[in-house]
Subunit: 370 residues, 2 copies
């Protein structure tokens, strides 16, 4: 599938008269070459030419890049006495021969690198085009996202069922992580996984939509938002559930039902051809009608794929038309200071007449009040 992507991207390059594109964003590099390094304190650079892909990597990544990347040529730089040079010197040398326009990602290009190398060239910003390409997932990407969603469900289920009084937020996350890893070992051997979870708990922390889990211990009557992304070979799915340790407060239950209602209606409206902004307004209307307008401070969802958040954004003012094989989350939330936060998130594939929901752990209080 990468070859198909490269073909399309090269058509765009030809149309825009680009001799080469210098890709520095790790996700975009992976998207085109299948190579993803673990750390980036040493630069890694991909050059897409019309007839080949070249890559500059640190010597210690050479074998790794040879095994995993589709690059036709790999340059390496060393940091040891008998072999030392640096990535940017190699890049400069390669670009010396270029007479013509160069594609760069302006939102990823640090000013220092631009000044050191690209200032004297004619550049154009290719980031928006790559972003657009990445919005529509191909079959291989959808297969991975489905697997990731399957694992995310297992994680959420096990995390929720492990939670009880005196267990910490971090332990909730760990229980689900462990279940995912066990399942992945059985079902998806030799895949690369990465897990992210956060489980703010209590009336102080759940109103904060994004916080890291801490070693805070759960108490009776707590509300908890368990958020989880699983990535399988880089491709992500997200599942989030709000749940409760009994006794369940009346006020919590009421707000929870409004949130559920908003999520269900938004999910029901997902399909090819609808504006992203419209979905947001549909969810927002339910929450507003119930008097919580000012407690829903974020968009209804976002695209998901190689990035945690990526376009299309399901935001009231987005004119982006949802198209088949986009993958998005739907997650309207209500956050009331000192009371609690309420949010479920599901991952959906946009299909012709509907949204195919990939994450299926129960959304209802029967299961979620424990």
């Amino acid at each position: 599938m990468q070859s198909e992507r490269l073909k399309r991207f090269r058509e765009y390059m030809e149309k825009n008269n680009l001799k080469v594109t210098v890709v520095i964003d790790p996700e975009n590099q992976y998207y085109f070459t299948n190579f993803y390094a673990v750390v980036y304190s040493r630069p890694i650079i991909t050059l897409i030419f019309l007839d080949r892909v070249e890559m500059i990597v640190p010597e210690l990544e050479k074998l790794h890049a040879q095994e995993e990347s589709f690059a036709e040529k790999i340059y390496t730089y060393g940091e040891v006495p008998y072999f030392h040079n640096d990535a940017y010197t190699i890049l400069k040398k390669i670009l010396l021969d270029i007479s013509g326009r160069i594609g760069i990602e302006e939102n990823r290009m640090p000013l220092s690198l631009f000044r050191a190398i690209f200032q004297k060239f004619s550049v154009i910003d290719v980031a928006p085009y790559i972003e657009k390409m990445r919005m529509i997932k191909d079959d291989e990407e959808i297969k991975l996202i489905k697997k990731a969603a399957y694992l995310a469900d297992i994680g959420v289920k096990n995390s929720i069922e492990f939670a009880k009084e005196d267990i910490t937020e971090l332990e909730i996350d760990a229980a689900g992580n462990h279940a995912i890893l066990r399942e992945a070992g059985l079902k998806f051997p030799n895949f690369r996984l990465s897990l992210f979870a956060m489980s703010p708990s209590g009336s102080q922390r759940t109103p904060l939509p994004h916080v890291f889990s801490t070693s805070r211990k759960l108490r009776k009557g707590d509300i908890i938002i368990h958020s989880r992304q699983v990535s399988l070979n880089g491709y992500r799915a997200e599942c989030e559930r709000t749940f409760f340790l009994r006794p369940l407060k009346k006020e919590h239950e009421e707000i929870f039902q409004v949130m559920i209602e908003a999520q269900k209606i938004a999910e029901k409206n997902v399909k090819d051809g609808i504006k992203a902004g419209e979905i947001d307004l549909i969810a927002r209307k339910i929450i507003e009608e119930n008097g919580y307008a000012q407690y829903f401070p974020h968009r209804t969802g976002h695209g998901v794929g190689l990035s945690v958040h990526e376009p299309p954004y399901i935001r009231f003012d987005s004119d982006t038309i949802l198209r088949e094989n986009m993958v998005i989350t739907i997650e309207p939330g209500i956050y009331i200071p000192q009371v609690g936060g309420f949010r479920h998130s599901d991952t959906l594939i946009v299909r012709k007449n509907r949204g195919e929901i990939l994450t299926n752990i129960s959304r209802d209080l029967d299961y979620l009040a424990r």
Copy 2:
């Protein structure tokens, strides 16, 4: 301690005639303000003035920023119909009144942001100065790093002791993660933790210094490099051990002993006043004398703190003088394709006459061949 940092940074600003510094690197923002968000798909910007700190955050982070940050003023931007604007418009407005130089981090400033806002100002690059400040850790930072090292040790021990035939790389990591979370809940309640581990195994994968763990299952005779960083409230410590499932191959044992020897000698030489490059050369010499020069493709270590890798780099050509309260790793490695990779990493604080080793899990074969 942040106030001490701000004081010093403002002295630097005054000396360089800077009216304001615009900080966009998440770690640098945390360093100065104590605020760290979970995701950055919405911009977060910190402005350091001579007399105050201001912050621009998305509305959904407002409470979070109010609770955690030291900013005297917090601007928010919204993404909902009744409150929508954007971070850069707010930033532009704030900077309108600035007549004078602005500090920016040129290695973090995307070209697109520079073009949109800073191009017409006189800017200077403050990143190198912040980098230099961050190299020397204060008491609060060292306390956190020591706690992180304590937890890293627990993780490594539990991961190694969990490993056996048919267990996957990811499960090894998970076992240590779980032990860390349990211990953190008891010893360090209400801290924010994050865990990173990788455990390449076998003669194909251990020669790759940095790869994500997979669902590959361990086999008898395997070599495994278990690498682990723990961060506690953002501050990191690293511990890595190479270990074996018996039967232990003679060749593995020989190379292992060379690696151990190089690490021990390098660690013994760490102290205030020595050049970082010298430590690298000391480790390198042992490995070269034993005929493995070309199989040690990376620096001997790196600074660690808020970043996974940060200055000082323990690299042959570094003239940086190690100073008291720098925190570094020592991790010479040998990687032979088709044979195996061999690396231990410890975290050390540079002290007046020695390196204080913070990670203490056994380095020896008695323990590590299982």
